[in-house]
Amino acid sequence: MKTKWTTGLLLALPFSVFSQGFQVNLQGQKQTAMGGAGSALTEDVSAVFYNPGAVARLKENGFMLGGNVTMAKVAFQESGNSTVYQNENKYPTPFNAYGVWGPKDARWKLGLGVYTPFGSTISWGSNWPGNNILTSMALSSIYIQPTLSYLLSEDISIGAGFVYNHASVDLQKDLPVINSDGTTPGHTRLKGTGYGMGYNLGVHFKLADDCNFGVSYRSAVKTKVKDGDMTFTNIPTSLASSFPTGTTFNSTLALPDVLAVGFSYDRNPKTTYVFDVNFVFWSTYKNLTFDYNQAVAGKLSSTSPQNYKDVVIFRAGVQHKYTEKFALRAGAFYGLSPVQDGYVAPTTPDANRLGLTAGIGYKVSSKIHIDASFMYQYVKPRTQKNLETGLSGTYASHIYIPGISISYKL
């Protein structure tokens, strides 16, 4: 009956950080092999994503199935220490599927796209200095996008799509509480799914026989995660009321809007150059808030400032058709990081990045095409102290992404 003892105060206890979801720019093997540029292209049905306005210009109906394996190798070195920690190998597989259909010689086409434009998987395990911030994260979003495109004139086509996003989050970290046996740290996991809606718009201009121009806009998609489960393990009995069972959470993922402007130029019938600029409006992502159905460590919600900024990504690529059947592609991009100084976290070991890409295309028959790409991303080493968690150190990443797709033309 004597002591002032504040049960809840284990500062910064609830999940304080999470998110960005890297933007995943792997929605077509041809574009991916050309630095991710493709807003002006009318090469295949992945135009449903890259520019709905270009869909009506596609010569044939068809569908396509593709996927990639993302191998991110992330290293972390804490400031003032020699030890370098490497993330654990986890290989998420972003995928995409498109179908386009329209009556022969009609001015309109219908399209459907299923693709994964945002997502991130990273796992650090418990043996690294940020284990009380993050041990693993898997964030994925699947966009389903029905699309209608219309040829306004010989030179101009437009398109629009509706987007339904199904997202899932799974975040885990250790808690700095220790049982009386002195060995087992606490652990918590946030797991939930949610949905959001948005739209796509695009316009495509045929400037000349060898020049195309495209603009597409993909709206922000506010994705609400509702009644996700927050579970706690290895919590000492005396703290059980601070980390109650049956805790659920709500949160909102602010997936940003993207404006893409692209240009393509056919130097000759065999060689095509493409250029794109993407504007990604991350600045809508100010805070990440979790609301709990009951108090966790004395709080009904936790808010973590993110303060992302808008960024630009520059892309360029080239395609060369060696033979009727065989094409080679190459490209590069340079993207600025939306994460400002002081906000770099284990969930988002982000920095400005350079991407180098290459790929091949092979026509098995007039109907079946296979495309493959390989992307390498060099994420510049970045030394940061996170304002919220105090974790201070240098992150560096190499990302390798092979991918393949198969298309069938009707």
């Binding site: 002591t3 105060l9 910064a12 700095p176 105090g390």
Partner: protein, 479 residues
């Protein structure tokens, strides 16, 4: 076509090999700077020794800030660091306390929280107790002796030691000081143990500082092997004893002038007159520790309300030194962690005015020894400020690194710190930095201290001693 297959295979294989490449980082090169950590010794009190949870036991010894520093020094040329662990079977040393449960009782919307903290006495190294051998009013707990000549010693921390008991200081001609420092081995069981003593029999007359300078400069065989680096954190107990005694005994506070002279003499010896390198630290304001913040007048009042099942206002009364009577306690009165709450409300006679409920009536206030009132706080703060002025100037005079522990602990109390996502504060139990005695650090708190010492060393000696991941060390073990 064959050529194509070959080149595709080559491309494929090299891509696969490239994909195995992980980024490398090389942002930190350990270095000793212009210091030499070959032989590091640690001088100080209970903090240095690794005392925690109200006792000296092996886990605490192995997670003392000094042991943690020595581990980090190993990558910059540091040698072995021998700590005086207790033998197997006696690993609980002096015994310590653990948290068995926390009980929250709520009645009429008023909550009272009580942690149940109980002693562990098994696997003890205690062999006997000598009651007040020399009339200093101190009982000595005798433990199994530690054999320095056989095992060696780098951590010389002795729980309870003050600067004034570290060596006899004759220039000021204080007989009590001289005697208590000379016979310190027979007055402090922890020191007696390091001296190899089996009884407080008046024969252990090696003053502490002499012991450090002797053993610290020799190897196990007794040959000369001078230490190359030292840490010294002495002086905390010169103020702490006065404060934990509720300010009831003014003589427990070391005189600031004597402190100044003795600190200079101690660092002069330890640095070999400014030639040997080391690190020292200031004394934290003793009121920054949970020993003085865990129990408050409000928490006592709530406890009584819950126990009596009432919402009526309960006033707590404390003894006022200036009036010699009782007065209402305020939030400015610091009540010590060890205040026996069972006394509250018991009908006893205190100030010769008849029977009154203890602590709840002006005629029977909580005794002076349990309360550090604002006047006493000012006294101890003044003394600490004066000690710290001395420590800073002496550090610069003899050219040793300095960690300003006082300002760091003030921050820990005021705002807490966040280390790799883990909030750490000076709150009792939940803060994570302080062990169950409310004075000494947990391993997490010790790691915080070690890092601050290392930062001071790095900056003063241009060294790159790697830092610890504080978050990976435990706070209080929770039931």
């Amino acid at each position: 076509m064959k050529k194509h297959i070959l080149s595709y295979t080559a491309i494929g294989v090299s891509l696969l090999m490239a994909m195995a490449c992980r980024p490398s980082l090389d942002e930190f090169t350990p270095s000793a700077g212009n210091a030499n950590f070959t032989k590091y010794i640690a001088v100080g009190n209970s903090l240095t020794a690794g005392y925690a949870d109200g006792g000296l036991y092996n886990e605490g010894i192995n997670y003392s800030y000094t042991k943690l520093i020595s581990q980090q020094l190993s990558s910059v040329g540091g040698g072995s660091f021998v700590v005086p662990s207790f033998d197997s079977g006696q690993e609980n040393g002096s015994g310590y306390v653990k948290l068995d449960s926390i009980v929250v009782t709520t009645k009429n919307g008023i909550s009272s929280t009580k942690p149940y903290i109980n002693p562990i006495t098994t696997s003890s190294a205690i062999v006997g107790k000598v009651s007040d051998p020399f009339g200093f009013g101190v009982s000595v707990t005798v433990m199994t002796p530690y054999d320095v000549s056989q095992k060696g010693l780098n951590n010389f921390g002795v729980p309870g030691i003050k600067l004034v008991t570290a060596f006899p200081y004759t220039p000021l001609g204080n007989a009590t000081q001289t005697a208590s420092a000379t016979y310190y081995g027979d007055l402090n069981g922890y020191y007696l143990r390091l001296l190899g003593g089996t009884n407080a029999d008046g024969t252990h007359t090696t003053p502490y500082l002499n012991f450090v300078l002797d053993k610290g400069n020799k190897n196990k065989s007794g040959d000369a092997e001078p230490y190359t680096f030292f840490s010294c954190w002495l002086g905390n107990n010169d103020a702490l004893g006065y404060a934990t005694g509720g300010g009831a005994d003014p003589t427990a506070l070391t005189d600031a002038t004597l402190f100044g002279l003795m600190y200079d003499a101690a660092i002069k010896s330890l640095t070999n007159n400014g030639t040997t390198k080391g690190v020292v630290a200031t004394i934290p304001d003793v009121t920054s520790i949970p020993y003085f913040s865990a129990v408050t007048a409000a928490s006592l009042s709530a406890g009584v309300q819950v126990a009596m099942n009432t919402t009526a206002t309960i006033d707590i009364y404390v003894y006022d030194t200036s009036t010699g009577g009782g007065r209402k306690a305020t939030s400015s009165d610091l009540i010590i962690l060890e205040f026996p709450t069972s006394k509250l409300g018991s009908l006893t006679e205190a100030l010769g005015a008849g029977l009154y409920p203890y602590g709840m009536h002006p005629s029977n206030p909580i005794e002076n020894k349990y309360v550090l009132d604002p006047t006493e706080q000012a006294t101890v703060k003044g003394a600490v400020a004066s000690y710290n002025t001395t420590i800073k100037s002496v550090a610069s005079k003899y050219g040793v690194a300095l960690w300003d522990a006082n300002s760091y602990m003030a921050t820990l109390k005021a705002t807490g710190v966040v280390e790799n996502g883990v909030g750490i504060s000076a709150n009792f139990i939940s803060g994570g930095a302080f062990s169950l005695d409310g004075v000494h650090p947990t391993p997490r708190g010790a790691a915080l201290m070690a890092n601050q010492f290392i930062k001071a060393i790095n900056s003063y000696y241009g060294a790159n001693v790697p830092l610890l991941n504080v978050a990976s060390y435990r706070g209080v073990k929770m039931p």
